[in-house]
């Protein structure tokens, strides 16, 4: 229990100064390392042939983002298929099939890191570093870039050009400048520190091939034990910090080589929430609306603590399958002794509240209601959320709450002095309703043809496995009820569709909304306007999020985890 409180407190304490720093980075402050980083950034700009000072409209920004992602995706798709023929492959691993390469490239390109393969056996060092690590650094940076483009456009930060100009001419910033700053000043320095901390705890960092040892007990059938190593530490650090989640080893951070000690577990757990939480504080510093940031943080922490408590309580209850077979104890199936049930349940909650998706225990073997928490976290997907995109998603709910709240008190709907009209609300609805439509639609089709599912568990839990997979894909989370046999053409293709739509539409629709708002005349915020930075409005937003989620997904929760829980009570 103390462990949980300390980890929450430590994370928020670290997130506060980091948020201040990130806000400084995007306000163009040269202090705080700017003199070191600026020459690096300028070098990168000239290598890429980019003028970072060129403003972009929201369409230009979106096009730059999509073209850049498409190029990265093609490069890495090719790399995955050809890895068997290339260098840095000491363990002689062959290329991937086309559909698995496609799913893997898309999955990492969308900051999801859903893995339909087992890393230590399926990827060469070249594919792991140049392919996977690259995307794990770049995609959270793209999320952060888009977030600041939206914030400066809605709330009028440094670069916003507002004041009654047509939407098509509103500058939202420069994509490559926003991206490069996030990579050079935030992602890489933080990852370097975390990687060295992890290396000190025993996470491998070498380019040598696998180790072979001879087991001690000659009584067992195993004659040799092969221990895969590699440049694991730099990958695990960025995997945790960038809400990526895709690990070096198949069982992710449950594997002692990826997460060796309680201290490495502490570093990795804090890293899950650190940047998403810092961005909420950065919202306050960047826009000057500190109270709004406090309200947003308050709503997120309430949801986070509430759901994590349920998971921790449930996982400390016995596993129903073990009753009368052992002394009463917590549910340790799929969990590691060095972490125990509480630290694993906390991780399971945070990793799904942030779209991280790494695990230090197997969610498939959680108790039914304990396993429902990660699914609910991913339905909501804005409790902290992915780097950048989490807060973008929260802003959508904020707009919806402002719209509903204004109507409830009989005012014309507005936010930050800008009227909320049909175009904005239509875009909000498209971005929000796409989620239940895709998740429930694909799940229904897959469940209708049992040959497609590849379940490893019978009954209600089989339904949960399918729902979990599509939810995880759309939420760009990447964790799974991993028993699912998901490396099939059906799963690879349908998940890829969910991954792309779940990433780019909830990212670009808010950018369009921001530009649309910025093109409108600002009315001064007065006594008649709805104030966003009050506890009441926080409660209103919380209620909107909870109701939206329950209305969309309650029936399917009943069919899956709740039915399973009822069935295991004797």
């Amino acid at each position: 229990m103390n462990e949980v409180i300390i980890i929450y407190a430590l994370t928020l304490l670290l997130a506060w100064p980091l948020g201040r720093y990130i806000a400084g980075v995007y306000s163009g402050e040269t202090g705080m390392g700017g003199r070191v980083f600026l020459p690096v950034e300028n070098g990168l700009y000239s290598l890429c042939g980019i003028d970072p000072g060129q403003p972009m409209t929201w369409q230009g920004y979106g096009r730059a983002l999509l073209k850049f992602h498409l190029m990265l995706g093609l490069l890495i798709f090719g790399l995955l298929m050809a890895q068997g023929l290339l260098f840095l492959n000491p363990d002689g691993i062959g290329g991937m099939s086309w559909d698995l390469s496609l799913h893997t490239a898309v999955s990492f390109l969308t900051n999801t890191n859903q893995q339909h393969y087992s890393g230590q056996a399926s990827l060469s060092y070249l594919a792991h570093t140049f392919g996977i690590v690259t995307l794990q650094v770049v995609t959270p940076a793209a999320g952060m870039a888009t977030l600041f483009a939206i914030l400066r456009t809605i709330f009028g930060g440094r670069d916003a050009r507002t004041g009654g100009s047509p939407e098509a001419r509103v500058s939202v910033g420069n994509f490559y400048q926003d991206l490069t700053r996030a990579i050079v000043r935030v992602m890489l320095p933080l990852a370097a520190v975390a990687a060295l901390l992890l290396a000190s705890q025993g996470v491998p960092s070498t380019y040598e091939g696998a180790q072979t040892v001879q087991p001690l007990d000659s009584n067992v059938a195993m004659e040799q034990q092969e221990i895969p190593v590699g440049p694991v530490a730099p990958m695990v650090a960025i995997k945790q910090l960038g809400t990526n989640g895709g690990g070096w080893y198949g069982a992710n951070s449950a594997v002692p080589l990826e997460n060796p000690t309680p201290l490495s577990n502490l570093v990795e757990t804090v890293s899950i929430v650190l940047i998403p939480a810092a961005l909420v504080f950065a919202l306050g510093f960047f826009t000057g609306r500190r109270r709004l940031a406090q309200v947003v943080m308050g709503v997120m922490v309430v949801m986070s603590v509430g759901l994590a408590s349920v998971a921790i309580w449930q996982e400390n209850m016995p596993n129903a399958a073990f009753s009368s077979l052992a002394a009463e104890g917590p549910n340790l199936e799929g969990k590691e002794v060095r972490f125990g049930a509480t630290a694993t349940a906390l991780w399971g909650s945070w990793t799904t509240q942030t779209s991280n998706g790494s695990v230090n225990g197997m969610h498939d073997s959680f108790n039914p209601i304990g396993g429902m928490v990660p699914i609910m976290d991913m339905f909501i997907n804005v409790i902290f959320g992915g780097v950048g995109v989490g807060l973008i998603g929260f802003l959508l709910f904020l707009l919806l709450a402002a719209f509903l709240g204004s109507l409830m008190i009989g005012r014309a709907p507005e936010i930050a002095g800008k009227p909320l009209e049909t175009r904005e609300i239509k875009l909000v609805c498209i971005a929000l309703l796409l989620q239940p439509l895709l998740i429930l639609g694909f799940s229904a089709v897959t469940l209708a043809f049992p040959g497609l599912t590849g379940n490893s568990n019978p009954g209600y839990h089989g339904i949960s496995q399918v729902i979990y997979e599509y939810t995880s894909a759309f939420a760009n989370n990447g964790s799974g009820f991993e028993g699912l046999n998901d490396n099939s053409i059906w799963w690879n293709i349908t998940c890829a569709v969910n991954l792309i739509l779940g990433r780019f539409i909830p990212m670009l629709a808010p950018l369009a909304i921001a530009a649309s708002l910025a093109s409108k005349r600002t009315a001064p915020e007065g006594r008649g306007s709805l104030s966003l930075d009050t506890g009441t409005f926080g409660l209103m937003t919380l209620a909107v999020i909870v109701m939206f989620t329950l209305l969309s997904f309650m029936p399917v929760l009943i069919l899956g985890p709740i039915a399973e829980a009822m069935a295991t009570i004797h």
């Binding site: 290598l47 650094v137 050009r161 596993n319 073997s365």
Partner: protein
Amino acid sequence: MTTHNADDQAVTSASWLSALRAAVVFVLLCGGLYPLLITGVGGLLFPHESTGSLITADGQPVGSELVGQPFSAPEYFHGRPSAAGYDPTAVGGSNWAPSNPDLRARAKEDSQAIQEHEGIGSDRIPVDLIAASGSGIDPHISPEAARIQAPRIAQARDMPVNQVEALIERQVQGPTWGIFGQPRVNVLKINLALDGKDWRK
């Protein structure tokens, strides 16, 4: 840089060519330079940890501090059930849900085997001994799971039980700073100690 030419300039800055150049540059920076630098520094600062935390006895690599091994001989401490057969190239858990009859069947088999080997009732079996780990190579068991194995090991090795029990208490690793993690015993290390092997990092 005025509002009105924002659109024209955006076209050049968002060209396909700069997208391709940026993609290549960031692949080299984030996928090449960053891991190379960290791996180099990590290997230099932590030579033992960086290559898998191997331990050697009599000059032979006998395992990794971080990777559990299968044990079945009566004179050794036994680890947890593993869905991966303690093969680090096939790591993973059972991924069986509590409602899955296969899980109940496996746990029953393990529980009965332990009751037989250790001569105790099911109510004394610590749950980690019948629950498969998440990694399949969990190197640890709980201190209680080590204690219930002491009488069998003492008998198999023809040594006093309290000597085995004293060894266990010496090998128990508590939570870090009294807060983080769970008390545990590293199965490979305690078995090496039982054999009187002088292992080193």
